[in-house]
């Protein structure tokens, strides 16, 4: 019954998307909107065909995706163990708390000047932007996740002879993993924001560059295509992530 309903929702969704696109196309064809402001979907599509043909679309998409993935992976690989550690030991949490609080609210954009000074115009700088933009929020999220672990489970583990380090590895890590993964999904979205910002400056590839360059040349269809590509890429990565999640959390169904 649930499956049945999901199927029905999907059909309604597709139908409403089609209706929307049709109206948009018609409005543009009638000339009610200037194409500079909003090109017809068919224009965007033909731009897509053109850019797939010359390989640019794939190149830009892969460039951004690679940057997001590298920056995000590095950020997660540092944030998870560190977060679990801070979540387990109150003293160190207190030591690092002010830094996390101060770093967390900083948008990735605001790191661009410093990162340019420190790292120059390199791919590393792009990774660093993603890293700086997603590290502090990830860390905070992971620490929060460790707090939600049932303290009874920690008691039970200690009662069965687990040391504090055992508790960290055997209880706090797996216990917070579902929430950590949920958080990382959100972080992945933030990482995308970061990379689009980073690609504004000193990039000659990537979807962010594509959008900005499209804007410079007043190619609104390129701008829209770039936006659609971001959506689609994020959605695809989401699906992959979900697969991966099921593997990693066999006990949650």
């Amino acid at each position: 019954m649930k499956d049945h309903q999901t199927g029905k929702s999907l059909i309604i969704g597709i139908a409403s998307l089609l209706v929307f696109l049709t109206i948009w196309e018609l409005v543009c064809r009638k000339g009610l909107i200037e194409p500079l402001f909003l090109p017809a979907p068919s224009k965007v599509l033909s731009r897509a065909v053109k850019m797939i043909d010359n390989g640019q679309l794939i190149a830009h998409t892969l460039a951004s995706t690679r940057r997001v993935m590298v920056g995000f992976m590095v950020s997660s690989l540092v944030a998870i163990p560190f977060g679990i550690f801070l979540g387990s030991f109150g003293f160190f949490r207190a030591v690092f708390d002010p830094f996390i609080s101060l770093l967390r609210p900083l948008p990735s954009m605001s790191w661009i000047p410093l990162s340019l000074l420190w790292l120059g115009i390199t791919e590393t700088q792009k990774y660093a932007i993603v890293f700086m933009g997603s590290f502090a929020p990830s860390l905070l999220y992971i620490i929060e996740a460790t707090k939600n672990i049932d303290p009874l489970l920690i008691r039970a583990a200690r009662n069965l002879g687990a040391s504090r380090v055992d508790v960290m590895r055997e209880v706090i890590l797996p216990g917070s993993l579902p929430q950590i993964i949920a958080g990382l999904k959100v972080m992945l979205g933030i990482a995308w924001t970061c990379i689009i910002s980073a690609e504004l400056v000193a990039a000659r590839q990537g979807l962010g560059f594509m959008i900005m360059n499209g804007k410079e040349y007043f190619q609104t269809d390129t701008v829209l295509l770039g936006m659609v590509m971001i959506s689609i890429t994020v959605l695809i990565i989401d699906v992959i992530f979900r697969r991966f999640e099921r593997r990693l959390l066999p006990w949650t169904q």
Binding site: L153, A156, N159, A162, E170, P174
Partner: protein, 269 residues
């Protein structure tokens, strides 16, 4: 070191526990004393909030008494010790571990080799009748099955003392009965020292060798009754006159304490 009577496993001596929270101090226990002999099955009953869980936490070393002390085999309890295996009302199984891995947990913590702990876990899974569920995650088990895993996990660790905090309260009456019988069988076989908390007088009567009634908060011992009902405590025993008699005694004692605690509750408002 105080001299220890022969056979006294747990000795609770004039223990007080005061919690200081935002709304001031709460005296959960005041000068409570209780001795539990080796191999005894002591059931503690008492009104809600009278300090039963607090007492058990002190024995397990999760918390330290404000005054007084607790001796285990004559040695003061100073921290969490695997010698007192705790079984919680809500099972406290690790959801990310299979039944097998849950039962193995204590052994893994002792760094027992994999094959050895596998065998030992299998034995206890068998004892609680869960063969075939080794690779199942707790999520897929019924409440009764979860509690059996929790018992097996504790037993595999071979604690000298078992502490049970309303272990069957979350189960339905039928499942409860099955587990009660199983616990009695385990007790008869292994002769652990057991400290068991319940709200149910029937349960207390069915399981205990001694029943301790606690007063309303601050908790102290109101009454102790040696339970001399014959084993097995089947339906016939439960409908016997002796059963009724003990039940009535406890009932009256508990009711008096409940009334006191309800007055307190209303006062607080």
């Amino acid at each position: 070191m105080d001299p220890v009577e022969n056979g006294t496993k747990i000795s609770i001596r004039k223990v007080s526990k005061i919690f200081s929270g935002k709304q001031g101090e709460v005296t959960a226990l005041r000068e409570l004393s209780l001795d539990v002999n080796e191999g005894e099955f002591v059931v503690i009953v008492g009104a809600s909030g009278c300090g039963k869980t607090t007492l058990l936490n002190l024995v397990a070393g999760f918390d330290a008494p404000t005054r007084g002390r607790i001796l285990l085999d004559g040695e003061p309890v100073t921290g969490i010790t695997p010698e007192c295996g705790m079984i919680f009302q809500h099972y406290a199984l690790f959801p990310w571990k299979t039944v097998q891995a849950n039962v193995e947990f204590g052994l893994k913590m002792k760094r027992m080799p994999r094959s050895e702990r596998r065998n030992r876990a299998a034995k206890f899974i068998d004892m609680v009748g869960l063969n075939g569920f080794e690779t199942t995650y707790p999520h897929h088990l019924s409440g009764g099955m979860k509690q059996r895993v929790s018992i097996a996990r504790s037993l595999a660790n071979n604690p000298k003392v078992m502490l049970l905090d309303e272990p069957f309260a979350a189960l339905d009456a039928m499942t409860r009965q099955v587990l009660q019988e199983q616990l009695v069988r385990i007790y008869e076989k292994h002769r652990k020292t057991i400290l068991f908390i319940t709200h149910s007088i029937d349960e207390a009567l069915l399981l205990s060798s001694r029943i301790v009634v606690m007063t309303a908060r601050p908790g102290r011992i109101a009454q102790e009754i040696v339970n001399d009902l014959p084993y097995p405590r089947n339906a016939d025993v439960q409908l016997s006159n002796r059963f009724m008699e003990i039940k009535r005694t406890i009932w009256e004692s508990v009711q008096a304490e409940v009334m006191k605690s309800m007055e307190v509750e209303t006062d607080q408002r």
